[in-house]
C-alpha cells in the first residue's frame, strides 16, 4: 500500500510517498490510516485540516481501503 503526500505533508514526512508492507500494521480504513500517520508524524495532527483522497476523490473516515487504491493525503489546499 502506497500513500501519496503533497505540500506541507510531504515536508513533514520528508518524502513524497509512504509504503506500507502488506499484512499486519497496514491500515484497513481511512480512519486507521489517519491514526497510524498521526502517531508516526505528530506534526500532521497540527495542520488546520487533513483530508484523505482515494482514487482522486475525497473520502470519509469510514471507507475501507482496498488493494490497488490510489491513496493521497491532502493537507489544507491553497490554490488560486
Amino acid at each position: 500500500m502506497e500513500i501519496l503526500l503533497f505540500g506541507i505533508a510531504k515536508d513533514i514526512v520528508g518524502k513524497s510517498k509512504i509504503q506500507f508492507a502488506a499484512g499486519e500494521g497496514q491500515p484497513t480504513s481511512v480512519k486507521e490510516l489517519r491514526q497510524t500517520l498521526e502517531s508516526a508524524y505528530p506534526d500532521l495532527g497540527r495542520l488546520s485540516s487533513m483530508a484523505v483522497a482515494v482514487n482522486s476523490e475525497y473520502v470519509r473516515d469510514e471507507l475501507i481501503l482496498k488493494p490497488g487504491d490510489e491513496i493521497a493525503i491532502i493537507p489544507p489546499v491553497s490554490g488560486g
Partner: protein
C-alpha cells in the same frame, strides 16, 4: 459540444480566455484572474511556488465547472491554473463563465474561484526573504 475547458499549465496565457468564452448565445462574459501580490500581511513576497495532485485537481476542477454550468445554465466555462514558481504580478489562475445574462456569469465566476480555493488540491508556498510558508496549513 464541450462547454468546459479545464487545464493545469506551467505558464498561464490569460488573454486567450476571452475567445474561449465567446458564444453567440451569450450576452455576458465574466473572468477572474488571480495574480501574485507583492505584499501579503505586511511582508514582501519574493516568489510563490505551486504544486498539485494533478489527476485529482483536474477531476475536481471539472466537477466545479459542471456544477456551475448546470446551476447557471452557462454556455462556456474555463478553469485554468498554473503551477511551479511564480513571481510578483504573474497570473496564477483564470476562471471564466459565459451566459445569456450578466447576473449568471458574475455569480458563476465567483462560485468557480471560491470553490476552487476550497476543494482543488493545489498548494501554495510563499517564499519570503527569510522563510517559506505553506499557505493555510496551520490554524
Amino acid at each position: 459540444m464541450n462547454k468546459t475547458i479545464i487545464e493545469i499549465v506551467d505558464s498561464l496565457e490569460v488573454s486567450k480566455v476571452y475567445a474561449e468564452l465567446s458564444d453567440p448565445q451569450s450576452g455576458g462574459i465574466c473572468v477572474f484572474v488571480g495574480t501574485v501580490r507583492e505584499v501579503t500581511q505586511g511582508e514582501t513576497v519574493v516568489a510563490l511556488e505551486f504544486e498539485t495532485y494533478r489527476n485529482m485537481a483536474l477531476k475536481e476542477m471539472e466537477k466545479i465547472a459542471l456544477e456551475a454550468v448546470e446551476k447557471w445554465q452557462l454556455n462556456k466555462v474555463v478553469i485554468r491554473h498554473a503551477i511551479g514558481a511564480k513571481k510578483v504580478e504573474d497570473p496564477v489562475v483564470v476562471v471564466g463563465a459565459s451566459a445569456p445574462h450578466r447576473d449568471a456569469c458574475f455569480e458563476a465566476c465567483r462560485y468557480l474561484i471560491d470553490t476552487l480555493k476550497e476543494r482543488v488540491p493545489i498548494w501554495k508556498k510563499e517564499i519570503f526573504k527569510n522563510k517559506t510558508v505553506w499557505v493555510s496549513a496551520h490554524p
